[in-house]
């Protein structure tokens, strides 16, 4: 017999009481149907996301989309859209803006992320750079407008949209880079130097490949956040029109334009989804 037998008896009484108390919860958690419940809820959530999108695509080829009845089918809205052409310039601007914001995010997030992981006390810098995440879009847009237009008296345009998009997208990009950078072992860089790599080589050959998933993620999110940005752009657009602003204006103004919006949204979806899928595939194929 090991130990004090009295203590063992005490322990047994204790576990018995625990048994009594926990029986109800254990029977509940031991129920075999939970897996199925979880699956059903999951299917419901996924349906809530994809059914409206599929319906949108279906309605874009319907005669009268706002009626909610898909038939009769027609490609007429696409025809109108193609003959219109006013949406092409906003789309072009949005794509270019998205790409520029994406690359700037990648660059700045990498620089700042690397710096933060090398700091002795990164807390303050981290909080300051992440706070824009919690500022409501309208507030930020209005604030930027007042600051740039009324106080500094600058002429607003694409550059101010770019600034607003960066304020919005950079914290996300930074978070994505930080996830990878905080796990990066700085001793690897010492090892690379020791083996003869100069600072540039050790960045490109060792650090960058390891940080790449985070940096690419920063780019993807930078693009998506910029491409969909409306709240801040409205304030600082000046005379410029981006795709979300155009869509919003069209949807808000005339009834007759709505079917075209359906078609336009579908085209954008058909272009962006495959592009993003290919991007993700390229990014993560090695990991698998």
């Amino acid at each position: 017999m090991i130990g004090n037998p009295r203590l063992q008896r005490l322990a047994r009484v204790d576990t018995h009481q625990l048994d009594q108390r926990g029986r109800y919860w254990r029977r509940l958690s031991g129920w075999s149907g939970w897996g199925r419940v979880g699956m059903c809820l999951g299917f419901f959530a996924i349906a809530m996301i994809y059914v409206p999108i599929a319906l949108l695509a279906l309605m874009s080829i319907s005669q009268s989309p706002l009626s909610g009845i898909p038939y009769p089918l027609t490609l007429q809205h696409y025809g109108t859209l193609l003959s219109d052409g006013r949406w092409l310039l906003p789309l072009q601007k949005s794509v270019i803006m998205g790409v520029v914001v994406a690359f700037t995010c990648m660059l700045v997030a990498t620089l700042v992320g690397r710096a933060i992981t090398r700091m002795k006390r990164p807390g303050g810098v981290l909080i300051v750079s992440l706070i824009p995440l919690f500022v409501p879009g309208l507030t930020m847009g209005a604030a930027l407008f007042i600051f740039l237009r009324t106080m500094l008296d600058l002429k607003l345009g694409l550059w101010s949209i770019f600034v607003a998009h960066m304020v919005w997208a950079l914290p996300f990009a930074l978070l994505l880079v930080l996830v990878v950078a905080s796990r990066f072992d700085l001793r690897l860089l010492e090892a690379a130097s020791d083996l003869g790599a100069n600072n540039w080589q050790r960045f490109w050959q060792i650090e960058f490949p390891i940080l790449r998933p985070g940096i690419m993620g920063a780019g993807i999110f930078g693009f998506l956040l910029s491409f969909n940005e409306l709240l801040r752009s409205i304030f600082v657009r000046g005379q410029e029109t981006t795709m979300p602003i155009y869509n919003w204006a069209m949807a808000a103004s005339q009834q007759s334009q709505v079917p075209i919006i359906f078609a336009l949204a579908t085209i954008i979806l058909l272009v962006t989804l495959p592009v993003m899928s290919i991007f993700f595939w390229l990014l993560f194929r090695k990991a698998g």
Partner: protein, 415 residues
């Protein structure tokens, strides 16, 4: 027809290449076998180290590493305090010390990862490298954490040093495979780092460090994370590689056993300073201070005062008893504090022996710890508790009355 001829010639060339390669592989194996043999004979010749020492002094090679009066501080803490170190070409130099003794700082200073706060000279191969960044110094490190690149395969890891030097891909692979062969990991070339065991990673780190044939290899507790058996195997393997490459090794460890097994010379560090430096034999048999003795595993250390010095024999008074032991040399006056030390395995149980050259103390036996091969016995004597290592278990039976040891086995040192 022409096509067929071409194919035949190609096949011929390929087979010739294969023959050459096989030949070289076979040659390499034979070489390894030969070096294994020499290593074992070398090991047996270590029993007579004086002869080896003589050889060493005859060599008189210029120092490949010279650090003159180096000091390093991290903020207010002094990590290295005015340390000077030199290493000869081909030497296996071990820097021994507890954690925080400054040994890793010393290594980082040599590799260039740390710049000393003050240094008079830091020469590699006769060239002053104080201002040279790590990547321009001709020495590589095997890190304690291995620091293998997780996104590269084993082969690419080993190749890395050659890649940054712009060696063409073909030669790179050949040399990387040869280096992996040296650590017996030829068939892991395509594998990824996370698929390897700890021992294999350690060897890859070693292969990566030696592939560029640096003038000096720095090893930062490379065997620290391995289990006992693997560590002993790797010790032998490291010695073999050291011999084959005739490269200078600077080896850092906190294990006196590792240091004694592998080194030509040991530098024992304490709180950023060199406590003692010498051959394994010297540190083991002639510790200059109580610290060295304790670090080198001398179990019984008795504090006392020097009574008299006659030649190399010192008479020490410890708690009213007189103990005679060896004095390693150096000026000391009677009345000064000294420490007499004796290893547990050099003590014998029994009455005072007939021979005069022995110390004897009355004792009574206390508890003992069974260690398998031997028995660690504690005894109470007038000078305090003494540890005795008994190789025959039966010796601990009954009351022996006392313990004795030869004067030549008793080391007298400064406190």
């Amino acid at each position: 027809m022409a096509c067929w001829l071409l194919a035949e010639r190609l096949a011929d060339r390929l087979s010739r290449v294969r023959i050459i390669r096989d030949g070289s592989v076979g040659h390499r194996r034979a070489e390894r076998r030969r070096s294994l043999i020499t290593t074992t004979s070398e090991r047996s010749s270590r029993a007579t180290p004086d002869l080896k020492l003589g050889e060493k002094t005859k060599l008189n090679a210029p120092p490949i590493l010279e650090i003159v009066h180096a000091t390093h501080r991290y903020g207010d803490t002094v990590a290295l305090d005015d340390v000077s170190v030199a290493a000869r070409q081909g030497e296996f130099l071990t820097i021994l010390g507890e954690s925080g003794s400054g040994k890793t700082t010393l290594l980082r200073m040599i590799s260039g990862l740390e710049r000393p706060s003050e240094v008079q000279a830091l020469r590699l191969n006769g060239e002053d490298v104080v201002d040279l960044p790590a990547y321009e110094r001709n020495c590589t490190t095997v890190f304690q954490s291995y620091a293998l690149f997780p996104h590269l395969t084993v082969g690419k890891n080993v190749e890395y040093g050659l890649r940054v030097r712009g060696v063409p891909a073909g030669e790179r692979e050949e040399r990387a495979r040869a280096a992996l062969g040296m650590v017996r990991l030829e068939d892991t070339f395509e594998r990824r780092i996370h698929q390897l065991s700890g021992g294999q990673r350690q060897r890859v780190a070693l292969a990566r460090a030696i592939v560029t044939r640096p003038a000096m290899l720095l090893l930062d507790e490379p065997l620290g994370a391995l289990d006992e058996k693997l560590r002993q195997d790797m010790q032998v393997e490291l010695m073999e590689i050291h011999k084959r490459l005739s490269m200078t090794f600077v080896y850092i460890t906190h294990s006196q056993e590792e240091a004694l097994t592998m080194s030509d010379r040991i530098i024992l560090m304490r709180r950023g300073k060199i406590a003692q430096e010498g051959t394994p034999q010297e540190l083991f048999d002639q510790p200059a201070s109580r610290f060295t003795a304790a670090f080198m595993g001398v179990e019984n250390l008795m504090e006392g005062k020097l009574v008299a010095l006659q030649g190399d024999r010192a008479r020490v008074e410890v708690a009213g008893q007189v103990i005679v032991g060896r004095w390693p040399g150096g000026v000391i006056n009677p009345g000064e504090d000294v420490v007499a030390g004796v290893r547990a395995e050099r003590l014998h149980l029994g009455p005072p022996p007939a021979q005069a050259e022995a110390n004897w103390l009355p004792c009574s036996l206390q508890g003992s710890i069974y260690k398998g091969k031997y028995l660690d016995q504690t005894a109470t004597t007038p000078v305090g508790e003494i540890k005795i290592r008994l190789w025959e278990q039966s010796a601990a039976q009954g009351e022996p009355g006392g313990i004795w040891w030869k004067q030549s086995d008793c080391m007298v040192m400064r406190p």
